[in-house]
């Protein structure tokens, strides 16, 4: 594969999955690594910290060239493939990025997580007993054994709903539901 390789690659761990529209020093660092890999080399100068539609295309090309799942999202496998193309500057950018410490992935501990559709919320299947976690520090605002939140269109198959309000961070005050 064409491109500039750093040997040995820096010891970096993926801090978050990167998809279109996201911003941050981690985005900038990954775009630099992709450009050093040749996707595309002309973008090595003036790299921005926003992951645009053009960047998604470049990463898709990178994934295709590296026999990865092609979705344009920088997850674990793509990040690992980019690592050899990080230079010291890119590594410094990446290390400078601080993930929000106040929030967590609510499905972090779920087993056999299956991604379903997005409608008014986002649907998931998972192994029975898997946990859903509070995204952040929060207070429970409502817990029901029926899915009252969807009235006036109640579903006879609904079995419960819990609502909580985030208390800190960038989303403080926003309320979230989890319903079956």
């Amino acid at each position: 594969m064409a491109g500039t390789v750093t040997n040995p690659p820096p010891q970096l761990v993926l801090k978050r999955q990167i998809s279109q529209g996201m911003e941050g020093a981690d985005v900038r660092a990954c775009k630099r690594a992709a450009a050093r890999a040749g996707f595309p080399p002309e973008l090595l100068a003036g790299i921005t910290a926003t992951y645009t539609a053009d960047d998604v295309k470049h990463i898709r090309d990178f994934q295709l060239a590296n026999h990865l799942h092609v979705d344009g999202v920088i997850g674990g496998d793509t990040f690992a493939a980019l690592l050899p193309h990080f230079d010291a500057l890119g590594a410094m950018w990446y290390e400078s990025f601080e993930t929000p410490t106040t929030y967590v992935n609510p499905f972090r501990d779920a087993q056999q997580l299956t991604l379903m559709r997005t409608d008014q919320g986002v649907d998931f299947f998972a192994k029975k007993g898997s946990s859903i976690l509070a995204i952040g520090k929060a207070k429970i605002t409502r817990a029901t054994t029926k899915s009252g939140w969807c009235a006036p269109d109640p579903s006879p198959d609904a079995h419960g709903c819990i609502q909580y309000q985030l208390l800190d961070g960038d989303h403080a005050g926003e309320e979230i539901y989890v319903a079956e």
């Binding site: 992935n105 995204i135 939140w149 009235a151």
Partner: protein
């Protein structure tokens, strides 16, 4: 509750065809933010929450596209 504390559990396996849905809800109401999705239509609230999940490292099946991660009722 603290971040990472368990708030719910999946009560059935995927083979049951029943999973969980999570998203934004208007504060002090039962209403999902945005237009109620009778036919499974994607709403702005759904896409915003999907972006929020992705920003936390949680993948989503449908690409929500660029935009805010915040609840529409807070914009």
């Amino acid at each position: 509750m603290q971040a990472g504390q368990v708030v719910a559990n999946f009560l059935r396996d995927p083979s049951s065809g029943v999973g969980l849905e999570t998203g934004y809800i208007k504060v002090n109401t039962f209403e999902p933010c945005g237009k109620l999705a009778h036919g499974g239509e994607t709403t702005e609230a759904g896409k915003a929450f999907a972006r929020f999940l992705r920003s936390l490292g949680c993948p989503t099946r449908d690409d929500p596209g660029p935009g805010t991660t915040h609840s529409p009722s807070h914009l």
